[in-house]
Symmetry: C2
Subunit: 192 residues, 2 copies
């Protein structure tokens, strides 16, 4: 998606060989008009999939997921990473390992918000090693719901997440696909 | 706001004398169309204030804040409660005490996202004792930015947050104002 690639080139900061900082428009400060555009693009890509629910993880997934939910007019559910006073009983949970933080986190959603007749689109801000998405897919399986696909804002194609999803034949749409960071510059994959 | 009050009556769960659970449309599962309506209402209420930035706290504030940012077409910044690998330097921070959890949390935003020439609208999901909003106001002060006002989705008027803001003559717009929970029923304040 050219709009997004241009924005990443303009505002993204490459830190080392693997980290891209996009806190200017996605992760900390959010550009609402860009989110609307991303949500509409995900809608175009999954319009025929009869999506009934958008699923993401707090916190950075919420903005693109909400914009996508606005385009589909379906509810958005965000998995919580941190224990909540009012989120206690009847949970689906999954363990999510973070390669960057080298710790494992539990993510959780209330069972009542995911049903066997749901067709779910997962939305997340980044796809790197794919652990968060795998955790969400695990939860969708526990609920016997249907996974329609995965929508990612920024994919780091050189890490293993995309490969894992392709091997499982899951439809994955990433709006920007980064092939490599070379000397602090961003190389995008060619569009299909 | 009648649309919101009706939704609270329909889907809100009263737990004891002080807690309202609205995880069906605001805190865990989010209704995107309702968020759009809330954002437009905040826009109506602050349309003349020359807002340049929306400020909130992760995670539950992000959805109403983003919808409000969409209505104003201005950036949304969410303060982080948890330390982030890429959020380290040049921060404004404030301590936020949680009466429910009885712990103190630090919230932080990168200094570069709040400037002295910003006019800021704070948006949050709940106003109870007002500690999160006070923390955000503190941060706005550190940046020498201008506070235009506070927009709250659900105010529990029987707790002290609203009184604190009124005493400081801060314009506060709460779209639903709850006077009391009586026998598990919700009593709203009369509209002005």
């Amino acid at each position: 998606m050219k709009l997004l690639e241009d924005r990443i080139k303009k505002d993204g900061q490459v830190l080392g060989a693997e980290v891209l900082k996009v806190d200017n428009f996605l992760n900390h400060q959010i550009d609402p008009d860009l989110m609307t555009a991303l949500g509409q693009e995900f809608y175009q890509q999954f319009a025929d999939a009869k999506i009934t629910k958008i699923l993401t993880v707090e916190s950075s997934g919420i903005a693109p997921a909400l914009a996508t939910g606005m385009a589909f007019h379906v509810p958005v559910v965000f998995a919580r990473k941190h224990k909540s006073l009012t989120l206690k009983d009847d949970l689906y949970t999954a363990e999510v390992y973070s390669f960057t933080k080298k710790t494992s986190n539990q993510i959780a959603i209330a069972q009542k918000f995911l049903q066997a007749d749901d067709t779910v689109l997962i939305i997340d801000d980044f796809l790197a090693n794919g652990q968060a998405v795998e955790g969400l897919i695990d939860i969708i399986g526990q609920a016997n719901a249907t996974l329609a696909g995965v929508g990612i804002v920024i994919e780091k194609s050189f890490q293993k997440g995309r490969k894992l999803l392709d091997e499982r034949q899951i439809k994955t749409v990433s709006l920007a696909r980064i092939k490599a960071f070379v000397d602090g510059q961003i190389e995008f994959e060619e569009e299909d």
